[in-house]
């Protein structure tokens, strides 16, 4: 899936999880950049991504994510 398709859908997920309608993701965005991005939010985020894109992320893949850019690459690889 093209990142231009992924990004707006990821924006919507982030806006919902972090209850911030103005939040927009960027490649370099990390947990420290978003108020409230803690372990519970991270789980909610991963589960929401899996549901939205109908993919499964493995433990190793989740642990390997350093920023939102990594997540977008992963989604792109796993979606048609």
């Amino acid at each position: 899936m093209d990142r231009n398709v992924i990004k707006p859908r990821l924006d919507a997920i982030f806006q919902d999880i972090f209850d911030d309608p103005l939040l927009e993701v960027s490649d370099r965005m990390m947990a420290a950049d978003v108020e409230g991005w803690d372990s519970i939010s991270h789980i909610n985020l991963i589960v929401a991504v899996e549901k939205e894109f109908k993919i499964r992320l493995t433990t190793a893949e989740v642990r390997g994510l350093n920023n939102v850019g990594d997540l977008m690459v992963l989604i792109s690889k796993k979606t048609p």
Partner: protein
């Protein structure tokens, strides 16, 4: 504005909500969870904030979103902050220093508060939390029942929290209480950690008792995230509905469940003393030594059920285990135990210091200073007191001391300043002890991620090594006579 949750808050909330989940009410149960202590009901956190919200005239809450970020604990000062930008909504936060523990948003619209006619006796299907296995989430369970708090218990809770029924009405508190009940008692039940609610109140006038329905929407096996649809209905129809999120802790996997078999007698003749022997790594080391023919005096402070379990497991193994309950951070208690060890066994070949207080996330901030100080003092005493007392016995037999440290000393996590400082202090203490005790071999075990009760969280569980595996590996170092003196590190 500061709020501090006390025992009385838990009692009143449980009586009103009929949520008797043991994570809030049982010390012994809570010690076996990752919090290591009882936690405050998430909905109690929300209700405690209501008194600080200035509800606009003729307005009433009709929508609530709450994110429970980190479990609240007793006897800690939390700061309530309220943002009310306009008359139609309020944002509420409970903070511990700079950490957000709970975040909620309430939406208001025009309405009149309604007083429900609550029954004298509370109504709920269960008095004991449901325990669901992972496989029971497969058929997408749905649970229904009839619910109402008891009148006096409800009023007592609102009075304690200074919630004015004439302002707030009953619909929001009733829905919050019922959501706590259905999460902690029904779905996912006993192993629940409530993490979020999105609630829509469709009308204020509610007949009680009312019926609830909670239906599983999705279950994520990797993280244990349970997402459910929730609806409250009276004779007129549905009056509130929403979605509940909770983390379902998996069945306890760090207990002494591994099949431990008798070994080849590698530790026969060894007398060991293990501080913190009822749980986690200490328990695993005790059983490994006993399985290999050793004699172990295991010290524990509080976890009686765990100690009994370790003792029962040891009974079928070739060595011998004696469990001693007491406070190893108390030097006088250690001195008394030393007399008993000397009298009964005449020697001590191995001292293992494996006990430490439960770790809560703390930060280097003013709000946490007292807790950091107390944590380090207690944790250091759990090593310093037994080492000060038993070192002469270990030295007399030319034995070993093994102290459990952590790889966190090398890579400190941001929210573990107390733990990292404790382990660094312990290492310093041991290295200094080694200078004056040349007949003793000192081991500092800098261990990585290990699966114990205290690390058993959705993220902490990932790639964690079992205590049995770690115990087997590091005990190899303490086998037989000391090969060299001074301090040695293992991982």
């Amino acid at each position: 504005v500061i709020v501090r949750f006390l025992e009385e808050h838990l009692r009143c909330f449980s009586a009103a909500s009929l949520d008797f989940n043991p994570a809030h009410l049982s010390e012994s149960y809570a010690r076996r969870t990752s919090s290591g202590q009882r936690v405050v009901y998430g909905m109690l956190g929300l209700l405690a904030c209501l008194r600080e919200i200035q509800l606009p005239a003729h307005q009433i809450p009709f929508e609530l979103r709450i994110d429970l970020k980190t479990p609240l604990v007793l006897d800690v000062d939390y700061a309530i902050s309220i943002e009310q930008g306009d008359s139609s909504s309020a944002k509420v936060m409970l903070r511990d220093g700079s950490a957000t523990m709970m975040r909620a948003r309430l939406e208001f619209h025009r309405g009149v508060p309604f007083h429900a006619n609550l029954p004298a006796t509370g109504v709920a299907p269960r008095r004991v939390s449901r325990t669901l296995e992972a496989s029971e989430f497969e058929p997408m369970p749905v649970f229904n029942g009839v619910y109402s708090p008891a009148r006096l218990a409800y009023q007592k809770l609102l009075t304690l929290l200074r919630i004015d029924r004439n302002v707030w009405g009953d619909a929001l508190p009733l829905a919050a209480l019922c959501s706590s009940y259905v999460t902690g008692m029904e779905l996912p039940g006993e192993r629940a950690t409530y993490s979020g609610l999105r609630l829509r109140i469709l009308r204020q006038a509610v007949d009680v008792p009312f019926s609830f329905r909670i239906a599983l929407d999705s279950y994520n096996t990797q993280f244990g995230l349970v997402q459910s649809q929730f609806a409250l209905r009276d004779a007129t129809g549905i009056w509130a509905e929403g979605e509940i999120s909770a983390i379902a802790r998996p069945p306890r996997c760090s207990g002494i469940t591994a099949q431990i078999e008798a070994g080849s007698g590698r530790f026969a003749g060894i007398v060991a003393l293990i501080i913190g022997a009822s749980r986690g790594l200490g328990a695993a080391m005790a059983l490994e030594l006993v399985a290999e023919g050793g004699t172990v005096v295991g010290v524990y402070a509080q976890s009686q059920e765990d100690a009994d379990e370790v003792l029962a497991t040891s009974n079928r193994l070739p060595g011998r285990l004696v469990m001693e309950r007491g406070d190893a951070s108390d030097l006088d208690w250690c001195i008394a135990l030393k007399s008993r060890v000397r009298a009964e066994f005449g020697r001590l070949d191995l001292l293992v210091c494996s006990a430490a207080p439960a770790i809560q996330p703390l930060r280097v901030e003013e709000a946490y200073y007292g807790r950091i100080q107390a944590y380090i003092a207690k944790g250091l005493a759990l090593v310093a007191a037994p080492l000060s007392s038993f070192l002469e016995l270990v030295s007399a037999s030319g034995g070993s001391v093994m102290v459990i440290s952590s790889s966190a000393v090398e890579e400190p996590p941001a929210v573990w300043p107390h733990y990292v400082a404790l382990k660094a202090a312990v290492e310093g203490f041991v290295r200094t002890a080694a200078v004056g005790n040349p007949k003793v071999t000192f081991w500092i075990a800098r261990l990585g991620r290990m699966l114990t009760d205290l690390s058993d969280t959705p993220m902490g569980r990932l790639d964690a090594e079992t205590p049995q595996s770690v115990a087997r590996r590091i005990l190899e170092h303490a086998r037989g006579q000391a090969v060299s003196t001074g301090v040695r590190f293992c991982s």
